[in-house]
Symmetry: C3
Amino acid sequence: MSPPSCGEICRKPTKGQAKDALVKIRGIVSKNTGFLGAYVQILTGDAGLLYEEIRDAPIVSPHGHCDPAWFANDEAFANPAALLVVPDHYVFRMLFSQGADLADLGIGSAGGAANPRDVFRLFASNWHLFLGTPSRFWISYVLTETLGISTPLSAATSDQVYDQIAEKLAHPDFRPRALFDRFGIEVLATTDAALDDLAHHQAIRDSDWQGRVIPTFRPDSLLDPADPSFRTNLDQLAVLTGADTCTFDGYLTALRQRRAVFIAAGATATDHAIEAVYTEWLAEPETLFQRLRAGTGSAEDAQRFYGHMLIEMAQMSVEDGLVMQIHGGSRRNTNQAVMARFGRDKGADIPVATDWVRGLEPLLNRVGNAPEFTLILFTLDETTYARELAPMAGHWPCLRIGPPWWFHDSAAGIARYFDQVVETAGYYNLAGFNDDTRAFLSIPARHDLWRRGVALHLSEQVARSACGMTDARALATLLATDLARDAYRLSG
Amino acid sequence: MSPPSCGEICRKPTKGQAKDALVKIRGIVSKNTGFLGAYVQILTGDAGLLYEEIRDAPIVSPHGHCDPAWFANDEAFANPAALLVVPDHYVFRMLFSQGADLADLGIGSAGGAANPRDVFRLFASNWHLFLGTPSRFWISYVLTETLGISTPLSAATSDQVYDQIAEKLAHPDFRPRALFDRFGIEVLATTDAALDDLAHHQAIRDSDWQGRVIPTFRPDSLLDPADPSFRTNLDQLAVLTGADTCTFDGYLTALRQRRAVFIAAGATATDHAIEAVYTEWLAEPETLFQRLRAGTGSAEDAQRFYGHMLIEMAQMSVEDGLVMQIHGGSRRNTNQAVMARFGRDKGADIPVATDWVRGLEPLLNRVGNAPEFTLILFTLDETTYARELAPMAGHWPCLRIGPPWWFHDSAAGIARYFDQVVETAGYYNLAGFNDDTRAFLSIPARHDLWRRGVALHLSEQVARSACGMTDARALATLLATDLARDAYRLSG
Amino acid sequence: MSPPSCGEICRKPTKGQAKDALVKIRGIVSKNTGFLGAYVQILTGDAGLLYEEIRDAPIVSPHGHCDPAWFANDEAFANPAALLVVPDHYVFRMLFSQGADLADLGIGSAGGAANPRDVFRLFASNWHLFLGTPSRFWISYVLTETLGISTPLSAATSDQVYDQIAEKLAHPDFRPRALFDRFGIEVLATTDAALDDLAHHQAIRDSDWQGRVIPTFRPDSLLDPADPSFRTNLDQLAVLTGADTCTFDGYLTALRQRRAVFIAAGATATDHAIEAVYTEWLAEPETLFQRLRAGTGSAEDAQRFYGHMLIEMAQMSVEDGLVMQIHGGSRRNTNQAVMARFGRDKGADIPVATDWVRGLEPLLNRVGNAPEFTLILFTLDETTYARELAPMAGHWPCLRIGPPWWFHDSAAGIARYFDQVVETAGYYNLAGFNDDTRAFLSIPARHDLWRRGVALHLSEQVARSACGMTDARALATLLATDLARDAYRLSG
């Protein structure tokens, strides 16, 4: 009677089992009211006045994950499931946590055969799972405000709502460019691999459409020797740039060249996603580079080299003016069975405790006082708001604190953010808001939630006499649009 | 003039000194009002409506530390001190922190000679120390609601209150079974060593009383090679089961057998209390087992083996359906002098920072996707609510977040819990409430505090339009009873 | 095209560049309203009643960094910049974070040539940067309440306000002793190096002024072998005491003697500022001492020795009654370029995560149960409030939790403190308030902010029926003055 092996346990649950397992607490809530009012919190008093001040301000979206192809091709979105469920890891991770099979949600190649209508029904039938989450707010807002649908969502109404959405999506008013314009988006930054040819961005610029969609330089796979494709990526980098990526100097030259290409395409920022925050300045990077280039470096070599390259990137930012972003502290793809079957980014990324102080000290002591440099930090470890990020941003000239990120981009998360960063960092060391989403339709909902949070926070500041309404109004606009424009150098 | 040794400093304070030291700030509060109103917060508006909805719901108590002998024998509780002071580590730790000698509080063999009336007076005279703590709420509730005593507590009234309580305890209505019934307890789980013969549980089932009291399988001392009695416990396990606990397979067989015995006695869950959260799957556990069985293993061997056994326990749960609980992050018995004189669990257990993500990754990647598996996590490190537990429970199908535990089972602790877990985990990945107490009389008070916290939280959700009152009512019942029933499989 | 070296990047920004860089978001807020009402939050209801109870209570200031020379010499403060900007690291760090050159703020020898009027203008022009920070509250309070100035602060009014302040400072009513008396300061503790001759303190006692200014024994530089001047400090210690600081026993004798000198000068406490919380009892400290005395010890030797000496200090406190304070978890002088140009304590101290539990265990198990011992802990890692400090103080007889420190001495910081410590530690294990400031004029403002926080917290406790108003009034006085008097043994 030996214990079941991982294979037996992890891979064998049949769809039938998984469906049975959904919902963990099946039967407990017999009726789902499908309440659709989550977005309509009435803000009164000063909060209401401050919200009105910024409610209809333009949307500045300096960091996110929309697909530039949408705006290059301007084709209709395929169907409600492909728009609202399949790309939204907030949505499918919750359904998975309650026993849904990701294949039944149309995820990955395993989900290729799923009927979009069935996918949507699986989501609609479990709408109650999202009670209390920002997803419920965002989707309610999208359905009601953006799509004009008033039918409460439930298993019973799923097909009806599906059809209503599908009808909208077929209309020219709901094509990507039309929505972009209707949303009042002033600028939208995408996130693009450093090896990307930026053809979609070129197509957008070549079109007669005036929307400002710009790329962001994301070089992770060229900097992290632990990436399985690191060496082939460097080969590809050589092909793309003509530089000799077999020497460290050639490698740096190639990176500089790619940055210049992104700048020419409108980029104003880079982005780095790292798990542990670690930087180190190597006196002799060439040796380590050669070992890693040859595939003979150790895990420690890889970490030290990556730490060095973050500083190189910071120094290139001093030279070329690209604002540097670091998203730190997410442990990626922690569920091996899901990774094997469905691939990366399938809801199993989990935050870990982060040490920004020691982790960034080598980088900051190298370039942190350079007046030309801006570095925006995003944390998933809220304990670092008051302990590390606010004191650091309240000292280092280069630093700005990014808005609440990912799991913390929520009503309570926003309140905790203001509560914990403002007293030490003030407002002017913040980077405003960014929606960081690949769910295009949710962009207005996300900015609206932030703006409500701003209004609530500032009205409390007025109530405690931290400022008067004149200052509060100025701060509201600052937080809604101006800090983002400034931090990302979008006005120039 | 050498410094005093530990012995001189730690062990020599005479009772006289200790009494003098009480209270640290003696004389500051000249009058103790003995205010007894802590339990009567008036909830108004939606909070009041939601509280009424669940106020009188049955009590589901799936995890705690009541003594099954109370219900097997149904004898009157000995005296007010033995009921309210001696077993309550929340109470005696606070008095100790202000200079009381634990012996004067009747603790341990050193306290055997203490007069219960004196013990109670020491407590009553220091009632003001509990201002602001949940103990003050719980005890006020017990005195007023459960025992019907309206005399404010103070040094002056101590004997009077003592006599009033003693009179009640002598009455048949205040025997354990009568109170159990009066409290409306639907089910009460105790926590029992894996080697326990469960005779009291058998006696309860054999009696004509209908109360449902069930055991919980707690195998710590059979799994942790660092436990001083680990090897003799395994010998005892062999005697009890007839299995050969000198081989790893025999050891597993014996554990499976004990689990089956607990299941037959009504158990639906196991419980594990660990300091560091560490799991690891060993390809060859036998080697390590033999070293540890022989007493020649290292501390690292012990940790790795324990980490492996937690995964074995999880796999057995997949087989036999017992819900697994992990209470992690408490550093036990940190005061060596108190440990030496009074023994374990005397108020010196202190939480430490906990890493659930990396610590559980091996276990979760082994069984975390199994639809049959439920794992409930309890933390004393609140920073893990939003950073780790909510994201993990919002992904892994097996996971549920346990309610606020120990020091955090309090009004503000409950508010922080909801604030930090719901937005990412939703409500359906929670495990409802459990009182986790050995203070039997405080059970209704603890559930009442939770229910007030639920009502306050949900009324705030309604105010911010996160849901309507219909959903809020359903969620209130879910949080008061249904999630606990479901998570612990108590309905079947 | 090699990357710029640290020297090029860090040291070369000219003043011109730095000025241009100020403000990071220049032009965004076109008008600074100069709102000066930050200190006038109206407290109503129970909060108002409780605030009135303690608003005018004496100021007990048991820990801070005022210069005793001010009170020994009683000379007028030099000028508004020297009073309000130059010594206030909260102020200049914020300006630095937005691009100001510290030299332009009159900091360090590099700032010696700065015109005070220009320094003040740089501050006044950037008054909006402090929106939302406690500095804005404190300075508004000082200007309005203490200095009687009603002109809103801005670039345009800077010279005018400067002149108004200067006029006040020239008046005898604004000399240090007169302000001390006007502020109602009952006792003010300074912080003094263990090698200090305490001449200013002697001069105060020898004067006919009755103000109580007492020293605090700060021996860091005599205990930390990592301090560059450790060995010369020990030489100086030998000269000062006549003891042989080349043997460990002589070293201890000398330390005891310095403590006695401080006690004779009125000291009731010691203070220790450490980065990592680490204690260890060495069986044979002599060996390590000799290595470190000879300058041949390792970094690990230094840490272990320092950890041992903290326990020696605790044991001396048991002997001589000095209350021990530990301020833990600040990583000092993290900006090397600022350190090189401007010296220590220039706003680059950043908190790091702290482990109080394991770090203090050896010390506590040595002396933590001694009734004569008081140890007050200050943390910059708020996650330790509920997880570590409150459970520890709720057990160990010696422990008290210090008030919110540094970045957390703010309206929201105070609210978080009460929210997270009271339920487990109660009120009587707290140490009341201390202002910990070198900005003498801000002392009443800081106590006022605390008292408002106390009133708000207690009114919420009353609202949730945690206590009645009678208890709340007693607790208000306890938190405003009595706990501080008692914890620091100032009443005797």
